[in-house]
C-alpha cells in the first residue's frame, strides 16, 4: 500500500476529515483552497496530530490512534516539500541541501546533490544565502532539499507553483522518473488539472 489515510483533524473551530487508500505510485490530492490538503500532508509528516485515525505510507504504519502508534517526524522519513518553502535562513543553499542528506543513511540515498542541482537548475545558487532568492528559486531549493534526505515517500505541496513553464516541465519529468524508477510513493497536491492527469495513478478529491 502506498498511502492509507484515515483521520480527523481539529483546526481551530473547523474539522478536517480524510479517508482514502491508494496503491498508485503517485496519488494526487486535489480540492479547493482551504479544503485541508496541506493539513493532511502535515499529519502524514507528523507535524499535526490527528484526534484519531490511522496513517500509513510506503507500507509502514506511521500513526494509529487505536494501537497507540505515533512515529516522530524524523522517524517517518517523509520528503516534504512545504507549500511555504521553509528554507533555513541562516544557511547557504548548499547547507540547506546538505541538511537532510547528511542525516540519511548513505545506502538509502537515491539521488545525489549534483544530479538534483542539475535537474532543478540550482547549481548557480549553491553559495547564495537563502534570504534573497526569488520565489521560484526557493521552490526549487526546497524540492532538492527534500529529495536529498533519502525519503521513503514524498509529500509535494504544489511543487510547480511559481515555476516557469520550462522549469515546471523539467520538474514534472523528474517526478515521473522518481515515480517510475524508484520505489518512492508520491502524494501530490496540485491545482493543475493537466499536471494531475498526466502524473497521477489515483486522484483523491477533498471537499
Amino acid at each position: 500500500m502506498s498511502f492509507e489515510v484515515r483521520l480527523t483533524l481539529r483546526l481551530g473551530e473547523a474539522e478536517v476529515r480524510a479517508d482514502f487508500a491508494s496503491d498508485a505510485r503517485l496519488t494526487a490530492l486535489v480540492g479547493p483552497s482551504g479544503a485541508g490538503k496541506t493539513s493532511v500532508l502535515n499529519a502524514i509528516a507528523g507535524l499535526l496530530h490527528p484526534r484519531e485515525g490511522r496513517l500509513l505510507a510506503a507500507g509502514r504504519v506511521l500513526f494509529d490512534s487505536e494501537r497507540g502508534i505515533d512515529l516522530s517526524p524524523e522517524a517517518r522519513r517523509a520528503g516534504y516539500v512545504f507549500q511555504d518553502g521553509r528554507l533555513f535562513p541562516h544557511m547557504s543553499v548548499r547547507k540547506n541541501l546538505a541538511y537532510g542528506e547528511r542525516l540519511a543513511p548513505p545506502a538509502e540515498r537515491w539521488i545525489t546533490c549534483a544530479e538534483v542541482s542539475d535537474l532543478l537548475d540550482i547549481g548557480d545558487l549553491l553559495d547564495r544565502r537563502t534570504t534573497n532568492l526569488s520565489g521560484g528559486e526557493v521552490r526549487r531549493v526546497a524540492i532538492a532539499r527534500a529529495l536529498l534526505a533519502a525519503p521513503r515517500f514524498l509529500l509535494l505541496d504544489e511543487p510547480t507553483a511559481s515555476l516557469d513553464a520550462a522549469r515546471a516541465e523539467a520538474l514534472l519529468g523528474l517526478i515521473e522518473r522518481i515515480r517510475d524508477a524508484m520505489e518512492v510513493p508520491i502524494l501530490l497536491v496540485s491545482h493543475s488539472r493537466a499536471e494531475v492527469e498526466r502524473l497521477a495513478g489515483q486522484i483523491v478529491e477533498m471537499a
Binding site: G46, E74, A78
Partner: protein, 233 residues
C-alpha cells in the same frame, strides 16, 4: 597608557575581566537552558521559575549577597558540602565573586535569550524534523543559531552587569585587594577616601572602555553569523 594606571589598578582590571568572563561563560549554558524552558515548555511552576530567575533583579544586591552567604558560606548547606567534599571555598575568593556576578546577571541573560528563542519560527524546526533531525539536533542546528542575537545580547548585558556588580560581591566575596577587589569595589573604596576622585574617575573610564569593547565584540559576533532572520517564500 600603562603609566596612566598603577600596577594595582591594572591588577584590579585584570581581576574584573577574569571574574566577568568566567561569570558570563559559566552561566551562559545555564541561562540559555532556563530561557528555552520558559520560552518553549509549558509545565506547572513555569511562572514560578520565571519569577525566581527575576529575583536577583528585584532584591537589593546586598540581600542577594547575604542569601549567597547563607547558602554558599562555609556554614551554609551548599558551601559546607562543597568544602567538605571538594575542598572548594567560595566565600572570599574570586570564584565567589564570579558566582555573585553570575547570579546578578542571570535575569538579564535569560530575558534576552528568551525573546530571541520566542522569535524563532517553529515552522523551521518542523522542517528540520521532517528532514530527519532529532529534537536535539533540530534544536542545535536551528533554534540555537537563530537565537544567536539573543545570546549575544544576553552575554553582553550579563558581562556589563558583571563588570558593574557591587553589592552582592562585596557581601559574598568581600573587598580584598588582589583577590576579590573588582572594578566597582575599587571604585567604592576610592570613594571612601577623600581625594580619591581621580582614581575613581580613571577606574570608571576603564570600566566604560571595557564595556565598549564587549559591546563591539558582541555586535561583531552577531553580524558575522548573519543575524538577519527573514525567511519567507
Amino acid at each position: 597608557m600603562s603609566g596612566w594606571l598603577s600596577a594595582a589598578e591594572w591588577a584590579v582590571i585584570g581581576l574584573s575581566l577574569k571574574v566577568s568572563l568566567v561569570a558570563v561563560l559559566a552561566s551562559l549554558p545555564f541561562a540559555y537552558a532556563l530561557a528555552w524552558l520558559i520560552a518553549r515548555r509549558r509545565f506547572p511552576g513555569r511562572m514560578l521559575l520565571d519569577a525566581a530567575v527575576h529575583l536577583p533583579l528585584v532584591l537589593p544586591p546586598v540581600v542577594t549577597g547575604w542569601l549567597l552567604l547563607l547558602a554558599f558560606g562555609r556554614n551554609g548547606p551548599i558551601g559546607g558540602w562543597l568544602e567538605q567534599t571538594f575542598g572548594i571555598t567560595l566565600v572570599f575568593t574570586w570564584v565567589g565573586a564570579a558566582l555573585a556576578a553570575a547570579v546578578m546577571a542571570l535575569p538579564l541573560m535569560v530575558r534576552a535569550m528568551r525573546l530571541s528563542i520566542e522569535a524563532v519560527d517553529r515552522k523551521l524546526v518542523e522542517a528540520a524534523r521532517s528532514l530527519g533531525a532529532s529534537p536535539l539536533r533540530a534544536f542545535a542546528t536551528i533554534t540555537l543559531p537563530l537565537s544567536l542575537p539573543g545570546i549575544a545580547a544576553g552575554a553582553m548585558l550579563g558581562f556589563a552587569r558583571s563588570l558593574g556588580e557591587f553589592g552582592a560581591t562585596i557581601t559574598f566575596a568581600a573587598n580584598i585587594e588582589g583577590k576579590t577587589r573588582t572594578l566597582p569595589l575599587a571604585i567604592y573604596t576610592g570613594l571612601q577616601v577623600p581625594g580619591g576622585e581621580s582614581a575613581v574617575a580613571r577606574l570608571a573610564i576603564m570600566a566604560i572602555v571595557l564595556s565598549l569593547g564587549a559591546l563591539m565584540v558582541s555586535e561583531w559576533l552577531v553580524r558575522r553569523s548573519g543575524g538577519s532572520r527573514a525567511h519567507v517564500l
